[in-house]
């Protein structure tokens, strides 16, 4: 029986299921308990599971992420909520220098089965310090898995495989998606290794993830009305990248636009393009193109914020340039 729920509710259901199924699971982070979660994801869980397992932390990203690592090493299955990716910079050291390295550096003796969730992205007029998209940075690092659920289904079901993974998994939830609703079937388990084709097409491949997925789908819809067939690939997993899916779609469409809310330089989009060039150069009919955020701190004013982020119009323009057509 399918039902309509929000991305937020889907995340909460996933958490609740994990807490019910495994007594080793706990959720810790700033305001996850009494406040109910900054984005209300954990609302109600404190009452059900108590303050030990729905554990409010001080504003100490470095310590509570590091403690999550220790707890994972010590036999728990912690889900650490870092309120937003912006604050995760305060926890970069434990994530990059400890969580990601421990298994390998210890000669395979220790694993860190830790899940870190955080909100990411712009689009809500919260200005420069609260509008970052750093998931591409994290995808640079071997030893961790980077997930970007863009659909209600992934929001609901990505947590279980993430918790089953013996190594650290970071989940980036786009802040603009929490209120999004969609139909969800009873049981639709997902993997955390592959990209998903959201729309098939033959003229151009639009490759994206996270909050940009819906802008990209909107662009594809408008392109279709003009007779341009655009395929849309939701990467879902930013590390390891599903290179096979990227290459296959490139081969199919021969033209690619990568849409990424991160800044262009050194972005995830850059990595996707590099793989296309490495693995599918001879399949290309045009240089890979991308639509990223403008290289400027994200401004507060609405019209300016909209102007710096990827938008359907920019995606369409990029496609037109590739095809040599104009609107």
């Amino acid at each position: 029986m399918s039902r309509r729920i929000s991305y937020r509710e889907a995340l909460r259901e996933g958490l609740r299921e994990a807490l019910l199924n495994d007594p080793r699971v706990l959720l810790m982070g700033e305001d996850v308990g009494r406040y109910g979660g900054t984005y209300a994801v954990s609302k109600g869980l404190l009452d059900e599971f108590g303050p030990d397992r729905i554990r409010d932390t001080p504003l100490s990203e470095l310590a509570f992420v590091g403690a999550g690592i220790g707890a994972a090493l010590g036999g728990l299955r912690p889900v650490v909520e870092v309120m937003t990716v912006n604050f995760s910079l305060l926890a970069l050291d434990p994530i990059v220098n400890t969580a990601a390295l421990y298994h390998h550096m210890s000669g395979g003796q220790f694993s860190v089965p830790l899940v870190i969730r955080m909100a990411t992205g712009a689009g809500r007029q919260v200005a420069a310090q609260h509008s970052h998209s750093f998931e591409g940075w994290y995808a640079h690092i071997p030893g961790i898995t980077i997930l970007a659920p863009a659909t209600v289904r992934d929001a609901r079901y990505m947590l279980a495989p993430a918790l089953s993974d013996p190594d650290p998994v970071l989940i980036f939830e786009h802040a603009a998606l929490y209120n999004m609703e969609a139909e969800l079937g009873d049981e639709e388990p997902v993997d955390i290794r592959s990209a998903r084709l959201m729309r098939d097409g033959s003229d151009v491949a639009l490759i994206t993830y996270g909050g940009s997925l819906y802008k990209t789908l909107a662009a594809a819809e408008q392109l279709a009305m003009r007779g341009i067939s655009a395929a849309v690939l939701d990467l879902r997993v930013l590390r390891p990248l599903d290179t096979g899916a990227i290459v296959a779609l490139t081969r199919q469409c021969r033209r690619v636009v990568v849409v990424d809310e991160g800044w262009r330089s050194g972005s995830l989009a850059a990595e996707v393009m590099a793989r296309i060039v490495e693995h599918a150069f001879y399949e290309l009919d045009a240089p890979p193109a991308r639509v990223c955020s403008e290289e400027v701190p994200v401004p507060y004013a609405r019209h300016l914020e909209e102007a710096v982020l990827p938008q359907p119009e920019k995606i369409i323009a990029a496609v037109e340039a590739l095809l040599g057509v104009s609107s």
Partner: protein, 391 residues
């Protein structure tokens, strides 16, 4: 220095892709030796050499697509050495008959010197197809050559798309035929009783594998009739008719995957029926297997098509240029037939002639069909070895 060039194996062949060399530098070629296997829009074909000499250089790589007339290899003439071959610059210009293949959109002067903007996939595909990118116009932004442009330019060339390619090739040849050749059509019923009776008798004495089919009688009759009416046996090239010295009817054979091909039965007029039967069976087998010799595709002098098996009563064909005639046979049917003032039932087959009015007239065509009809009434004579009569 002998230039071994890709021969044109038919009006619909503009190019071919080298599949395999059958010779190596240093080999001494004899006439008729298979030099290479080339994929055409119709089939993979063995290319024979008409020269003798030592193979000095192979100039084309397997996989390369080349226009008809391309110098594929250099053969040494007596007294020449490999060093001569190294120095030799083949004449890049193509023979006149193949110049259409190289015609492409003209580029303005200065652009010619620049590197063409070709997409990677288009460049790769062009390499696979052997397409010269200079001749391909680009439809992408700023004139970039795209995959689609290359495939359009390649037309029927892609070997893996043979049915498609063949359809294009047939389309091109038949359009040309209807555009250029003023066809006229004649038909004549041929009583088959005698021929069929004679065949039944003849076959009774033969093992199953060596039995003769009516088609062999018809082919032989056509061949013999052509000796009397040579204006139907030959080619029309550059405004004039060239009668053929041999009678090599091309037998239209349909392919399972679609399309058809009409390889030649050489010297059909000079063969005994059993021999002709063997040749025909062999030809059908090789057509299905895709292993035809180049001469079989290039040297037919008329086409014979028989659609009787499909159940049609008569067929009026389109001439395969540059040939000048096509003979069609329908199915053998029992029909009311007036003989000596009475209506009797007879086995009858309708023979038709499509012929080129530039070369012959209906009067001669009628005589040709009448001769064919009469020849079929003396089946025992068809098996006879040909007399010394030529023309």
């Amino acid at each position: 220095m002998i230039e071994f060039r890709l021969p044109s194996l038919g009006a619909d062949m503009d190019e071919g892709t080298l599949l395999e060399w059958k010779v190596q530098p240093g080999d001494i070629l004899s006439k008729g030796q298979i030099v290479a296997i080339v994929d055409t829009s119709k089939a993979a074909v063995d290319i024979e050499s008409w020269h003798e000499g030592e193979v000095a250089r192979l100039l084309v790589q397997p996989g390369q697509l080349m226009p008809v007339g391309t110098v594929m290899a250099l053969l040494l003439e007596p007294g020449e050495t490999a060093a001569d071959a190294e120095r030799y610059q083949p004449d890049a210009r193509l023979p006149a008959s193949a110049d259409a293949a190289s015609a492409g959109p003209m580029q303005s002067g200065p652009v010619m010197a620049e590197r063409r903007a070709v997409s990677p996939v288009a460049r790769r595909r062009a390499g696979e197809l052997g397409i010269d990118l200079q001749g391909v116009s680009g439809s992408g932004p700023n004139g970039v050559v795209t995959l689609q442009d290359v495939e359009r330019a390649a037309g029927a060339a892609a070997p893996k798309d043979r049915p498609d390619g063949m359809r294009h090739a047939i389309a091109a040849a038949m359009s040309r035929s209807k555009r250029e050749i003023p066809h006229y059509y004649l038909a004549e019923p041929i009583p088959m009783a005698r021929a069929l009776d004679w065949l039944a008798q003849e076959n009774a004495a033969r093992p199953v594998t060596e039995r003769l089919l009516p088609a062999v009688l018809l082919l032989k009759a056509v061949a013999l009739a052509l000796r009397r009416y040579p204006e139907f046996n030959g080619t029309f090239i550059d405004g004039s008719f060239h009668p053929a010295s041999r009678v090599n009817p091309g037998v239209a054979i349909s392919l399972r995957q679609g399309g058809l091909i009409a390889p030649a039965l050489f010297d059909a007029d000079r063969r005994h029926l059993p021999e002709l039967m063997r040749d025909l069976s062999d030809l059908v087998k090789r057509v299905r297997a895709g292993s035809l010799r180049s001469s079989e595709l290039s040297e037919s002098t008329i086409t014979v098509t028989q659609l009787g098996d499909q159940g049609v009563e008569s067929v009026f064909g389109v001439i395969y240029p540059p040939q000048v005639a096509l003979v069609g046979f329908g199915r053998v049917t029992e029909r009311p037939w007036v003989e000596g003032g009475k209506i009797v039932v007879r086995s009858v087959l309708t023979a038709s002639l499509a012929a080129d009015h530039r070369v012959s007239d209906g009067h001669r065509g009628g005589l040709f069909l009448a001769a064919l009809r009469d020849l079929m009434q003396q089946p025992e004579a068809l098996d006879a070895a040909p007399s010394g009569e030529t023309k």
